[in-house]
Amino acid sequence: MPIKSYLAHPHDGKKEELVQALSSLKNCEVIPAENKDLLIVVTDTNDKLEDENLKEKIETIKSLKLLAMVSGFDTPKSN
């Protein structure tokens, strides 16, 4: 059950668009950083495949310039 955090860099002037696009994805939480240049994204998925699919979806968002992973944890399943 992977939990990962990322720094997401929007294209110039596209931060709001990126927040909306990320917020619409299931298992994906967006935290705007205090400065104006980036977002913190946390993904919380059930398994490795779901995690990879979600990451691929995030990477197709046009307002996203770069996605850099900060940390990744894998927790045991709850059932």
């Binding site: 205090e34 980036l38 913190i40 990879e52 709850s78």
Partner: protein, 775 residues
Amino acid sequence: MYTSLTNRRSFIKKMAIMSAMTAAATMFPGILFAEEQEKNLPKGGNLDWKKAPCRFCGVGCGVLVGIDNGKAVAVKGDPKSPVNKGLCCVKGYHSVMSIYGKDRLTKPLVKKNGQYVETSMKEALDLIASKMKETISEHGKDAVSIYGSGQWTIPDGYVASKLFKGCIGTNNVEANARLCMASAVTGFLTSFGLDEPMGCYEDIDNADVFVLWGNNMAEMHPVLFSRLLDQRLKRGVKIIDFATRTTRTSMAADKSIIFQPQTDLAVANAICYEIINNGWVNKSFVEKHCSFSKGLTDMGYGLEDKYSFNDKPESIDFEAYKTFLQDYTPEKVEKISGVSAKDIKYLASFYGDPNKKVMSLWCMGMNQHTRGTWINNLVYNIHLLTGKISTPGNSPFSLTGQPSACGTVREVGTLTHKLPHGVVTNEEHRKFAAEIWDVPVENIDPKPSYHTVEMFRALDRGDIKFMWIQVTNPMVTMPKLKRYRDACEKEGRFIVVSDIYPTPTTDIADVILPSAMWIEREGMYGNSERRTQYFEKMIEPSGEAMSDTWQIVEVAKRLGYEKQFYYNEATHIEEIYNEYRRHHEGKKHAMAPLEVLKSQPGAQWPYVDGKSTKWRFNSEYDPACSNGEKFHFYGKPDGKAVIWQRPYEPAPEVPDSDYPFWLCTGRVVEHWHTGSMTRRIPVLHKAMPHAYVELNPEQAKDMQIRTGDKVKLTTRRGEIVLPASVNERGVPERNQVFVPFFDENMLINDVTLDAFCPISKQPDYKKCAVKVEKV
């Protein structure tokens, strides 16, 4: 206590968010300043805040350590420090937690019949002294050695040098800064005749353009990188990342330019070609303040034992240099480097623009390089040709990796050829040191012995029988590690290791001494901008732990050098520092008095008439300038800096059909070097729990490798299996992989190459050939 899975997931999620926020804070200014940090402190505490330089990295941030009932419980950035202005990075913020790991070494251990047995400090020190005496008596003084560190405090390194070079009479003194900063030293010495940067961090507040030469500042020097980003927000400065892979620094830069490994030499020459070809040379500066030289080429790479090389500089004129550069037109260099001629011209245009102030910054990419001295020279050439040097904002700036690589290794001189002032080969320098050390001048051997790689080779051959290792972890960091690990375990070798935690290096020790760490003792560090900073003893050492300084003093006394090691235990740091200052008297390197260091967040040498020197070689700021001109490069006899003719030469081992990838190694923001301290800080360990191999995403797809898959790396030295990392923190180019070296369970240095720069003797950890296979 039962913790539900839901709570655990919630905790882990919070930790993931915390890690990202911390990373964001280190990359972007304005988040974790002192006020924000204070919000997180324990409530109701009665903290006593004491100042110190940070224990990690060479930036030298000022921190305030919160002491509560004899325990260090909190850290915040020191707002009074001109280095970090209150900001802290993730390592600094958690630094005190590294003191309290569960497995701190608290008692001396002696290996008996293959088992470590606890003993008293007195007995352990007696044993070390008797082993040293026995080794010297049976095999001669050059059979004993000490291997220290850029994390040694200034007093640690000073007493080590005094004991080994001055009293015992062997130049077998080396430090791990040979692995990280030696090329910077020889770069400075060959170009300017004196070591260490002419500028300072205040250049960041004045430069218009920053060119980062193979330097992932966002992870390695996060606080300084934040200062760059802060300047971009305030003044719109430009940041250009010139590197071999895409990193967090590239992501935050205005432009990322990727070059093929080793070809930075060719690109630097192409920039110089452009500067001359476009008439951007600052003619009056070059005529007054520069000379031209060339040295030997095809020097080899130091791969064989007892390799030696001495350069033979030869004066040339500007026309000869100009002719040499004809081989480095941007169009020709594009073919070697993979950097487009357009991008080379783009880089050159900033250096050539008289209205732009340019700061070049570098660290391991240029220093861990088999032509490390040359590439340092070549970047100086760019600044010298345009006269963009030694003025606020115009600054070629070599960053250090360790908290006192400059202060202890370079200034105290804990390298085989060095003395605190000057070199062992110079008779006057030997006389000067001998007088202060109160030893006969004949004691100081005029011949350097072994640089680091050769010192471990000598241990392997049996030429060295005794080695004392302090504050460093060579059994993780030495290149081609297996050979040197086997060497340490050979019969007839006696190894002493002083450290604070068990490491792969304590595993090969015959005696392990528990060391007092950082604020458990008193000391000083010297950072990248010539700033010496003092810290007091704030807490009691763990168990029987003793400072590295006092360990050496105690052994020196046992060896019969009571006269030279006259220090009183209560006041020895002050006595040692005052003695050390005598070596640097004069306008070129005077050190600030101890009371000044105690009263403020450090001082920059040369410290003259109560004032730090911010820009050396510029008569407006540097009292040592005496030629009546605006600039005076007084490190050279003719007062001129040298523009060097240095060609591009390939790396010793390049990818081929058997080993088709480049292997590059390096660090990550969460861990300090080999992770022996930061891996014991839970939040940092969990944020970065193990090493990995970064692959190019397209190539990983072709090879059907996804993140987490096991990948085998094979070089001519051996093989290692690591989990893959694809499209995560860094993105290598095709046919290149990157592996961090912090993980003692995945020793990447077992497969690296021990080739080094023939001038600096610094190994190249950034380039060797490797085969990559999915397991």
